[in-house]
C-alpha cells in the first residue's frame, strides 16, 4: 500500500512539474532555429506582388531567414528591408533581441530570421494603407548567425 501511495505522489509531483514548466515556458528563440525558408527581401516581395494569396499560403507558420538591405530602423524594435520596387519587408525583432538594433544601420545588408506573420497589399480606393505598396511582415526575429 505504501508503495502505491509513493508511486501516486511521485506521479503527482512529475505531473505538477510538467504543468509548471509548460505554464512558464518562454516563446522559442526563432533566430537560432533551423529556418523553413531562406530567401531575400527582393525575392520575397516579388512573390507577393505576383500572387499574394499563394505566397501567403506557402509561408504560413514558417520560420524565414531573410537577407536584405536596411531601409529604416525603428528604435521600437523593427527593421524595414528594401524589397522589389516600392515593396518592403518589415521585420519586428524579438523583444529579447532589441540590443541587436545597435548593429543594424540604414543601408547595411543584414540577415534576419523570424516567423512570417502576414502581409499588407494595396486594397480598395478608400484604403489609406494602399499608398504604402506591398508589405510582408516577419516577427519575433533576431540577427542570424550568418551576419
Amino acid at each position: 500500500m505504501k508503495r502505491i501511495i509513493r508511486l501516486f505522489l511521485g506521479l503527482l509531483l512529475v505531473t505538477g512539474l510538467i504543468l509548471l514548466w509548460q505554464y512558464n515556458r518562454k516563446p522559442p528563440e526563432l533566430s537560432a532555429a533551423a529556418p523553413d525558408k531562406i530567401t531575400t527581401a527582393t525575392a520575397l516581395t516579388q512573390n507577393f506582388d505576383a500572387d499574394a494569396t499563394a505566397a501567403d499560403k506557402d509561408l504560413q507558420g514558417k520560420i524565414i531567414r531573410i537577407t536584405g538591405q536596411v531601409q529604416r530602423v525603428d528604435t521600437g524594435g523593427a527593421v524595414v528591408l528594401a524589397g522589389d520596387g516600392a515593396s518592403e519587408v518589415v521585420v519586428g525583432l524579438d523583444t529579447r533581441h532589441l540590443s541587436a538594433l545597435k548593429q543594424i544601420t540604414a543601408g547595411k545588408l543584414v540577415v534576419l530570421q523570424g516567423k512570417y506573420t502576414g502581409y499588407q497589399k494595396s486594397g480598395s480606393a478608400d484604403d489609406l494603407l494602399a499608398a504604402l505598396g506591398t508589405t510582408v511582415h516577419i516577427s519575433a526575429a533576431g540577427l542570424s548567425s550568418e551576419n
Binding site: 515556458r25 519586428g92 494603407l129
Partner: protein, 183 residues
C-alpha cells in the same frame, strides 16, 4: 508667364497636400490585461499606419500573429483560442480625427486629438473613440493613444477556468512615429 505662375502655384499646392500624409510600418501596439491572478502584456512592433493631415483620416492595421508575449502558452492561447489569428489574421482601424483643424502640421508642438472610427477585430467591427496626442517635430509626427476595449464586444469569450487570469477589459496603447509619405 502668367500661365507659368498658375502651374507653379498648382504644383506647390499639390506638394503641400502630398506632404500632409504621414506613415509608419513600424508602429507599436501593446495590450494589457489586469486580472486578479495575473497581468498579461503583449507587444506588436510592426504596425502599419497612415494619417492624412489634410482630411484628418487615419488608418492602421495589425497582424495578429505578430503579438509577442512573455510566456509561450499565453501566445498560443491568444492566437488559437481567443483572437483565432488563423481565421482573422488582421485587426484594422479606419477613422478620422474629430477636429482635423486642431493640428498644425507645419508648426512644431504637441496637440491633443480625438480619433473616432471603426475597429475590426476577430471578425467584428465596432465604433471606437480614443483620445491621443500628436507631436509634430521637424516634419515628423509622433502619435500616442491609450484606450480600452471589451473582449466581449468582439465576440472573444473567456473560459470560466481562466476568468481570474484574463480580464475582459483590455487596455490598448499605440505609439506611432510617422514620417512624411512621399509620392
Amino acid at each position: 508667364m502668367k500661365r507659368l505662375w498658375v502651374v507653379a502655384a498648382v504644383l506647390c499646392m499639390y506638394s503641400a497636400a502630398a506632404q500632409e500624409r504621414f506613415f509608419t510600418k513600424t508602429g507599436t501596439v501593446r495590450f494589457y490585461s489586469k486580472a486578479p491572478m495575473e497581468d498579461i502584456e503583449a507587444v506588436n512592433n510592426t504596425v502599419t499606419a497612415v494619417l492624412d493631415g489634410s482630411s484628418g483620416a487615419f488608418q492602421f492595421a495589425v497582424q495578429m500573429k505578430g503579438f509577442q508575449f512573455r510566456k509561450a502558452l499565453m501566445q498560443e492561447h491568444f492566437n488559437e483560442n481567443y483572437v483565432e489569428s488563423e481565421k482573422y489574421p488582421r485587426a484594422e482601424f479606419r477613422g478620422a480625427l474629430t477636429d482635423k483643424a486642431a493640428v498644425a502640421y507645419g508648426k512644431d508642438g504637441t496637440y491633443n486629438v480625438v480619433v473616432k472610427g471603426r475597429l475590426s477585430l476577430h471578425g467584428i467591427t465596432r465604433e471606437v473613440q480614443a483620445p491621443g496626442t500628436l507631436q509634430v517635430q521637424g516634419g515628423r509626427v509622433t502619435g500616442k493613444s491609450n484606450f480600452t476595449i471589451l473582449l466581449s464586444d468582439y465576440n472573444i469569450a473567456i473560459p470560466a477556468l481562466v476568468k481570474d487570469k484574463l480580464s475582459n477589459r483590455i487596455t490598448i496603447t499605440i505609439d506611432l512615429d510617422l514620417e512624411p509619405l512621399k509620392g
